[in-house]
């Protein structure tokens, strides 16, 4: 039924065979299955929205379709023929182009140089500058972009750079255009311009894959929506018929199962962290206020970049605060260094263990002990106490079930879950009053996740104030006693335990449809 309606909607003969189709695409990374047997089809002349939470597999899927990544198993057919896309170049030559959130522009070059990068027209072996300028001008005019070909990309606004990126996609005969949250940094006017462009492309029979979190955009330009969750294909629905509630349910309705422990926390104690009207220098956090009490687990929810992580980094001293105050146990700690905060009993465990958490080339022992080398049993006087350090780290890794249990092994040789355990073990190397876990289960398998949750709850039972920053909604719902929802750097809402439901949290998560 639905199918037939769609066929009538999409234009003419292309409706019969899909333009681009995937069958059973699976992508494995070490320890993680990012995509699990995903079927997806794109018809000529439609805007097909990919919808799902962070980590649902949208980005992996489009990177495979754009040739930037290769699937572990599964087939891709293009215009009815099976194809392998070994590189971005391959995909481009077939007419599949992607515009990622991370731009592939070279800032020191001009617009026209960027447009033709890697496929410069040549004459007698030399650059054909005249042709480059002419064709760049033509492309920009055709697209209606008010850009000068000889401008340096560095000088352009983010929206203008996006235009260059899109124009780049037009260099070859465009059949499939993939856009990853293209309006995230655009003004309303620029967004309108982009949508006009997309409408024009549809008429020409180009298929557009469009990733967005914004309901309003789905309404405006989407034809069909495919929902992904945890790397799996969930459903494809017509944009005109799907309500916001339907989509949210499809997106989040996972089986939570028994991986979350019973909370059973004691009544909260004194206020440990009190951040008031904090605004950071870089403007990622605006006038945000939170309080955290001893023995409670407070959630920080919101999209990536909503300020939930940045606020805690600012409190910890890893980010500069412009205005506002931060108090720890009643003492002002605004602007203190991480070093001082750690000594005062405040630890922040970063989300990106690879780049911010661990020294990958050093041993487990050194990584665990790193933040506590100034105290016993890790040191004695001015010297490190090697025996005490070894014993303490061994005890901690045993408690956390590190596998394999070898504390002299370098961290890079452990799986993601075990690396995470090494970092979390730092929470036990000294007495902390407040511990902030930033995305503690990113890239971690289900078994380890359960033990990490247990670990966090145990700490809270022991009277430690816990902040749990998470983009994973079930974690917020099942593991916290109270939660703040962030949006555009502000604390949009504070939800008490009885208000912690999916609908209530999500209501503050996204930009509302009405506005």
């Amino acid at each position: 039924m639905l199918d037939s309606i769609n066929k009538q909607k999409s234009c003419g003969e292309a409706g019969v065979t899909p333009l681009l189709q995937t069958k059973g695409i699976t992508k494995d990374y070490p320890g993680v299955r990012a995509l699990d047997g995903v079927d997806f089809e794109l018809r000529a002349g439609e805007v097909h929205v990919l919808f799902g939470e962070n980590g649902a597999g949208k980005s992996t899927l489009i990177s495979i379709l754009a040739g930037a990544n290769q699937p572990s198993t599964g087939r891709i057919t293009y215009k009815g023929k099976p194809v392998t896309l070994d590189s971005v170049h391959d995909a481009r030559s077939l007419g599949i182009s992607a515009v990622f959130q991370e731009f592939s522009l070279i800032p020191q070059m001009t617009v026209e140089e960027n447009l033709f990068l890697g496929a410069e027209p040549r004459r007698a072996g030399l650059l054909d500058q005249a042709r480059i300028s002419r064709e760049a001008q033509e492309t920009l005019e055709e697209l209606g972009f008010a850009l000068k070909p000889d401008q340096l990309v560095d000088r352009l606004t983010r929206a203008e750079q996006q235009m260059v990126e899109i124009a780049k996609a037009f260099r070859s005969e465009l059949q499939v255009l993939i856009l990853d949250e293209p309006t995230a940094s655009l003004t309303t006017h620029e967004t309108d311009q982009l949508f006009e462009l997309i409408a024009g492309l549809k008429k020409r029979g180009v298929g557009v894959i469009y990733i967005t979190h914004r309901m309003a955009e789905i309404r405006r330009i989407g034809d069909r929506i495919t929902v992904l969750r945890d790397g799996r294909y969930i459903d494809t629905v017509n944009a005109a018929e799907a309500t916001e509630d339907d989509l949210v349910q499809l997106m989040t309705g996972r089986v939570v199962g028994a991986i979350f422990p019973e909370l059973n926390l004691n009544a909260p104690g004194d206020v440990v962290l009190d951040a008031r009207n904090v605004t950071t220098n870089d403007g990622l956090v605006v006038d945000a206020s939170v309080t955290v009490r001893a023995g409670e687990i407070v959630g920080m929810a919101g999209l990536v970049g909503s300020g939930k992580s940045e606020l805690m980094q600012a409190c910890f001293g890893a980010m500069a605060i412009r205005t506002g105050t931060v108090m720890l146990n009643g003492q002002g700690i605004t602007g203190h260094t991480p070093k001082r905060n750690i000594r005062d009993g405040f630890l922040y465990l970063p989300a990106d263990r690879h780049n911010e958490g661990l020294m990958m080339t050093r041993s487990v022992r050194e990584n665990v002990a790193l933040a506590s080398l100034d105290i016993e049993p890790f040191s004695k006087g001015i010297f490190i106490n090697r025996g005490g350090e070894k014993k303490a780290v061994e005890a901690l890794t045993t408690r956390l079930n590190l596998s394999p249990p070898q504390i002299e092994r370098t961290v890079e040789h452990f799986s993601g879950g075990n690396q995470q355990k090494v970092m979390l073990a730092r929470a036990l190397t000294r007495k902390y009053d407040l511990i902030v876990f930033d995305e503690p289960t990113v890239g971690v398998d289900v078994g380890t996740r359960a033990s990490i949750y247990e670990f966090i709850v145990e700490l809270a039972r022991g009277g430690v104030a816990i902040v749990l920053i998470s983009s994973d909604l079930p974690e917020i719902l099942h593991l916290t006693t109270r939660a703040y929802v962030f949006f555009h750097g502000r604390t949009q809402a504070e939800l008490q335990a009885d208000q912690l439901t999916e609908e209530k949290v999500l209501a503050h998560f996204f930009e509302k449809e009405a506005c």
Partner: protein
């Protein structure tokens, strides 16, 4: 050492000599292989090579490079490098010699005062270069390459300006007799000083928290900062120490040649980096052992000595040294690939 025995006991049974070599290479790096080859080649080329007398020569000749390499190692450990070690060495030599000669000329009776003040001012002059390097890297986020390259030029210019390009004479005899040719507890004085410095640095690096912070900063700057380590102070201190070691080497070398020279130390940046890299210190920071660097410096001394005995022209010796450095870096890359392949 402990690390190696742990991994060794867990290594599965190995089949084939090639595989064994590969595992040894992954574990120990290229240095043992190079040492082995060099020993055989030079022993065959010259009968005077493998004698106790000559080995003592090698040791005595390599201590200056060894001391400089210890400082260079710190810079490499934190993920940078120090191109101004040669200049710090030369500047300390010139300033130390001038101050020493001046005081000796005014008060010929107070020999040891002249020596002490001369050494102190020489080392301070060298350390000044490190202070500028450290400030540039730690507080102004300038790349270590640029700061130390710039300071290499500044320091060299100052040293030449101070001396007018002429060697500085007039130091008390006792200075050269004691620190250049003397013996302390039956060990040549320069070797004694080098051993003392190496031991002190060893204790500092592996027995104190601050020592481990050098590895942490090079291993992951952001993680170190979030773990409450003062990364700026650590980086600053790195370059000050590096210059300090170079300056001490400068004073010892001054005692050995009995003149203050602006031109000594020109080959030090290359040789000290080579000693470290051949010894397995990673250019990406965070990896490397002091014992290996000592061996690395000895290895370079050994090569130079061997080539001298084999009557290889000194111009060609620099060619060999450069090739060795490049080989070591390539070997490091191959080793990384092997590590990845052994993991699977």
């Amino acid at each position: 050492m402990a690390e190696q025995s742990v991994t060794a006991s867990n290594a599965p049974a190995i089949g084939g000599l090639g595989n064994l070599t590969k595992r040894l290479f992954v574990k120990l790096g290229i240095l043992p292989f190079l040492l082995f080859i060099a020993m055989i080649v030079f022993t065959l080329l010259s009968e005077n090579f493998l004698t106790l007398q000559n080995m003592m020569n090698v040791l005595r000749q390599s201590v200056y490079l060894m001391i400089v390499a210890l400082g260079q190692m710190l810079a490499l450990l934190t993920g940078g490098f120090d191109l101004s070690v040669g200049t710090a060495l030369a500047l300390s030599s010139v300033v130390g010699a001038m101050v020493m000669a001046a005081i000796f000329a005014i008060a010929p009776d107070m020999v040891w005062l002249a020596i002490a003040l001369g050494c102190l001012s020489g080392i301070l002059a060298g350390v000044t270069i490190g202070i500028v390097n450290g400030a540039g890297v730690a507080f102004f986020n300038v790349s270590p390459f640029m700061v130390s390259l710039g300071m290499a030029s500044v320091g060299f210019g100052i040293a030449l300006y101070l001396t007018g390009g002429v060697p500085v004479y007039g130091m008390p005899m006792a200075f050269s007799d004691t620190f250049g040719y003397g013996y302390l507890l039956g060990i040549p004085a320069p070797v004694f000083v080098a051993a003392l410095l190496a031991f002190g640095l060893y204790v500092f690096l592996y027995r104190t928290p601050q020592g481990r912070y050098f590895y942490a900063v090079g291993g992951n700057l952001k993680a170190a900062s979030l773990s409450g380590i003062n990364t700026k102070a650590t980086l600053f201190f790195t370059y000050v120490l590096s210059a300090f070691f170079a300056a001490v080497a400068g004073m010892l070398l001054t005692a050995r040649i009995d003149t203050g020279e602006a031109n000594i130390g020109a080959s030090m940046p290359l040789e000290s980096i080579a000693a470290c890299v051949i010894a397995g210190v990673s250019l990406r920071g965070g990896v490397g052992r002091l014992e290996s660097v000592v061996l690395g410096a000895l290895f370079i001394g050994l090569i130079q000595n061997g080539m001298n005995l084999a009557q290889i022209e000194s111009y060609l010796q620099t060619v060999v040294l450069g090739i060795l450095l490049i080989l070591a870096v390539i070997a490091d890359q191959i080793r990384l690939r092997y590590v990845a392949s052994l993991k699977n």
